[in-house]
């Protein structure tokens, strides 16, 4: 079930929220669990079955002796690895074999990847790691943990939540707060508009460009990449706003995933503002422990080298987390390299760059990174880079591409301004003014009219 479908917006969500607040706290929690399982099982019962199985593993692990429990918990990563990455490994070995190499060939599994598996695996893993580090108590029951793992506003594509935060909120929130409903409606409206009005419009225009990448000249290639730059942000942050909105309707504060990332003046700042819950997950559970461990082993020597290696490794894994293709690994390694360069440059104590220069350079670096991220193969990425550099000529004029007219150019121009404004939605509050209320209602209606054959959010594939 998609957030921006009529079924969800006009049926499922209102029904779940109304019944949720009509029930007393005990039954309310079971209602939430049942609703989440229906939501997640809408595409097929096998998905919730796998989720329940992995949650059971995680629950057992949290009750076992610490070290054994950690090993058991990490076996959820094995499940993720099989479902998501096994075929990549086989493909690689097949490629090596085809070029006269190793000669190891195994059959493909061709498993259908369950939506959200990367997200709930990492949620469960954070729970087990927090229990291991004694940062949170273990779940009182399997139902408690399954409620956390299956929480329908976040199960499809995050934002990642910590078990301790979720449980505390579920226990604390006992009565309906109109302020929460107001924020819920506001975030749902803005998220819906980000997805349906902006991201899907850009997608309609740039998807054909990405498909015919081999024929693009410099103008078409830059249009495709700049369009993707905005589309990805509005698609994913639109989804996250809706997740935050749905959470508010149930009295749960879902953490913010974006804080005006395109206003960043450095790549380090960008990663503090982009997909925040994923980057903090990797920071807390991989980068910091890894850096500390390496520093201990080196007895405090070569801290800059250790930081660079840790950044490269962490960001490459973030790339791989997105999917089983080398393009994501290249994208992640590129981000790690940029972060390492920036971290080292800061320690040289040079004069800080002017804000406009930092912002321009960061935007340019991020844009270049989207090429491998959005390409189906490294060859395709190389092809696009060549076109962007002008090695494939000017190509046809921009206005000859379907959908590129004054309206679309106005959209892109408007987005350049909007994404450079210094704040972002999760902390915004609606104005209690008549004009504002009517505009919000109008926006919701426009967005609902654009729901026809909903296209999935980009981050559902991860």
């Amino acid at each position: 079930m998609l957030f921006h479908s009529q079924l969800f917006l006009l049926g499922f969500l209102p029904l779940v929220a109304v019944v949720y607040w009509l029930l007393s706290p005990g039954p309310r929690r079971w209602w939430l669990l049942a609703s989440s399982l229906v939501f997640y099982g809408w595409a097929g019962w096998r998905f919730p079955a796998l989720l329940a199985g992995m949650t059971a593993l995680s629950f057992v692990a949290s009750r076992a002796p610490r070290r054994i429990g950690l090993v058991v918990a990490l076996s959820n990563l094995l499940v993720l690895g099989i479902v998501k990455y096994y075929d990549l490994v086989v493909t690689t070995f097949k490629d090596v074999d085809a070029s006269g190499g190793a000669g190891v060939i195994a059959p493909f599994l061709r498993v259908v990847m369950p939506v959200g598996i990367s997200f709930y695996t990492f949620n469960l893993l954070s729970y087990n790691l927090d229990v291991y580090r004694r940062a949170t108590p273990s779940a009182r029951s399997f139902g408690d943990l399954l409620r956390y793992a299956s929480f329908f506003p976040t199960i499809s594509a995050g934002p990642l939540m910590r078990y301790g935060d979720f449980r505390a909120q579920l226990q604390a929130e006992t009565k309906l707060d109109p302020r929460r409903l107001e924020l819920g409606l506001f975030n749902l409206g803005l998220g819906l508009a980000k997805k349906l009005v902006i991201a899907d419009w850009i997608g309609q225009v740039i998807d054909p460009l990405w498909r015919s990448h081999a024929a693009l000249g410099v103008g078409g290639a830059w249009l495709a990449v700049v369009g993707y730059h905005f589309r990805l942000y509005f698609d994913f942050s639109g989804y996250c706003d809706m997740a935050v909105g749905a959470g508010h309707l149930l009295g749960i504060q879902v953490p913010a995933n974006f804080r005006a990332p395109y206003t960043s003046r450095s790549i380090t700042e960008f990663w503090q503002r982009w997909h925040i819950t994923l980057s903090t997950w990797f920071r807390d559970y991989l980068f910091l422990p890894l850096s500390r461990s390496l520093l201990r082993r080196s007895r405090g020597r070569q801290p800059e080298e250790i930081r660079s290696v840790s950044l490269l490794l962490t960001m490459s894994l973030i790339g791989l987390w997105h999917g089983p293709t080398w393009t994501y690994v290249v994208w992640g390694a590129y981000q790690g390299l940029l972060l390492a360069i920036h971290a080292n440059a800061r320690s040289w104590n040079g004069r800080p760059w002017p804000a406009w220069a930092g912002r321009t350079l960061t935007t340019f670096s991020v844009l270049l990174g989207w090429v491998p991220f959005a390409s189906g193969s490294l060859g395709m990425a190389a092809n696009l880079y060549a076109a962007m550099l002008g090695l494939k000529g000017w190509g046809p004029p921009l206005t000859s591409f379907p959908g590129v007219g004054p309206g679309f150019l106005l959209l892109l121009g408007g987005l350049v301004v909007l994404t450079n404004l210094p704040w972002d939605v999760p902390d915004l509050e609606p104005r209690r003014e008549l004009g504002y209320a009517l505009s919000l209602a109008g926006l919701i209606v426009v967005a609902l009219l654009l729901v026809q054959q909903p296209t999935a959010f980009i981050y559902f594939q991860f």
């Binding site: 107001e182 498909r211 926006l443 967005a447």
Partner: protein
């Protein structure tokens, strides 16, 4: 088309303007918020949104541009073919021996060419948005007027067997008495009350009433052969337009063929066998550029395999005389240039397919 596109862009720009206003206004924190409660905002937004949605739904229901509801204020603007094909078939004399069934991709199958090759009378009964349930209904119709052919050449594509296949294209569908429909269609009709497509169509109805109706997109000869109106753009550009609108990769991202549509098709085959009518089935081609995209990014290869396996199983059962896979243009010697757009082959391509299918006519014809 371009005027409608302008309306579409205008609505998106309106959405962008509203979004910008809400976003920027929320950024400009003033010290004095009006003394209103969260309940006030919720009630105002809810009431205004419900009123606007009610107005849109009411407009669409009253104008009924797709002929989905009971209202009859204006003539719907839809692509008619069922009533016309039924009328032409009733008039066809002598009764056709060979009938082509399909959706609009089959409009260009030329009956005269079939007659030239087989010395048998032929008719093209392809219907706009036609699918398995229409085939069964049209066969029932042919039986009801006593004009049952000897051979049916039937198209079956993956997109015709997809889940939630849109139906109900025709206002006051004249095939309705020969159809068996479920409550699913009522739900679909209600869902369409709040879509941009139907709202734009409602605006078109009003414009058509004020300025006169445009020429139809296609016309039919007496033998049912369809001719498309001259396109506003070159085919290659139309392929892009199709991919950007309803024929993007999303179309083929489902996992399995729809069991309801397959069941309809099987019932159609059983009915044909019961009547002693031979059936030849073909999987129609799509533009090669679209096929390579779908093969790369969608589940189409697996779905096509599933469809062909199903066809071969029915052939083994004796329900089908022959099955042909023309999903790739090379399979019948066609070319990329022989398409009107992404999904509609030209008459030349249709002749090539007929050359292959009619080379070996089923025995007993």
């Amino acid at each position: 088309m371009s005027r409608l596109g302008d309306v579409d862009i205008s609505i998106r720009l309106l959405g962008l303007a509203l979004f910008t206003f809400l976003f920027v206004r929320a950024l400009l924190v003033s010290e004095s918020q009006p003394v209103r409660s969260a309940r006030w905002l919720l009630a105002t937004v809810g009431l205004a949104a419900l009123s606007l949605l009610g107005m849109v739904a009411g407009l669409n229901y009253a104008l009924n541009p797709f002929g989905l509801y009971a209202t009859r204020l204006f003539e719907p603007i839809v692509l008619h073919s069922r009533a016309e094909k039924m009328r032409l078939y009733r008039l066809a004399e002598p009764p056709p021996d060979i009938v082509v069934l399909g959706n609009s991709s089959g409009f260009t199958m030329p009956p005269a060419y079939i007659t030239e090759m087989t010395r048998r009378t032929a008719f093209n009964a392809s219907l706009h948005g036609g699918g398995p349930e229409d085939y069964l209904a049209f066969l029932n119709y042919m039986v009801s007027i006593g004009k049952v052919p000897k051979l049916l050449i039937v198209m079956l594509s993956v997109e015709q067997a997809r889940p939630n296949l849109p139906t109900g294209f025709e206002p006051h569908d004249p095939l309705q008495p020969y159809l068996e429909r479920s409550s699913r269609h009522l739900l679909a009709g209600a869902r369409w009350l709040l879509t941009l497509d139907q709202t734009l169509a409602s605006i078109r109805v009003l414009m058509a009433e004020a300025r006169g109706r445009p020429a139809p997109h296609y016309r039919f000869d007496a033998d049912g052969w369809g001719h498309f109106a001259t396109a506003e753009a070159p085919p290659e550009q139309l392929v892009d337009t199709y991919l950007a609108k309803g024929w993007g990769p999303e179309l083929f991202r489902f996992r399995a063929l729809d069991s309801d549509q397959l069941a309809y098709f099987r019932r159609f085959l059983e009915r044909a066998r019961h009547l002693g009518v031979k059936v030849v089935v073909y999987v129609p081609p799509l533009h090669p550029r679209a096929v390579s995209l779908y093969d790369r990014e969608t589940n189409l290869p697996a779905l096509r395999t599933e469809l062909l396996e199903r066809l071969h199983a029915w052939q083994a059962e004796g329900l089908i005389a022959a099955a042909y896979d023309f999903s790739r243009v090379e399979s019948f010697g066609g070319q990329a240039g022989e398409f009107h757009d992404l999904a509609h082959p030209t008459a030349e391509a249709s002749r090539r397919m007929l050359d292959v299918m009619l080379r070996h006519l089923p025995p007993g014809l």
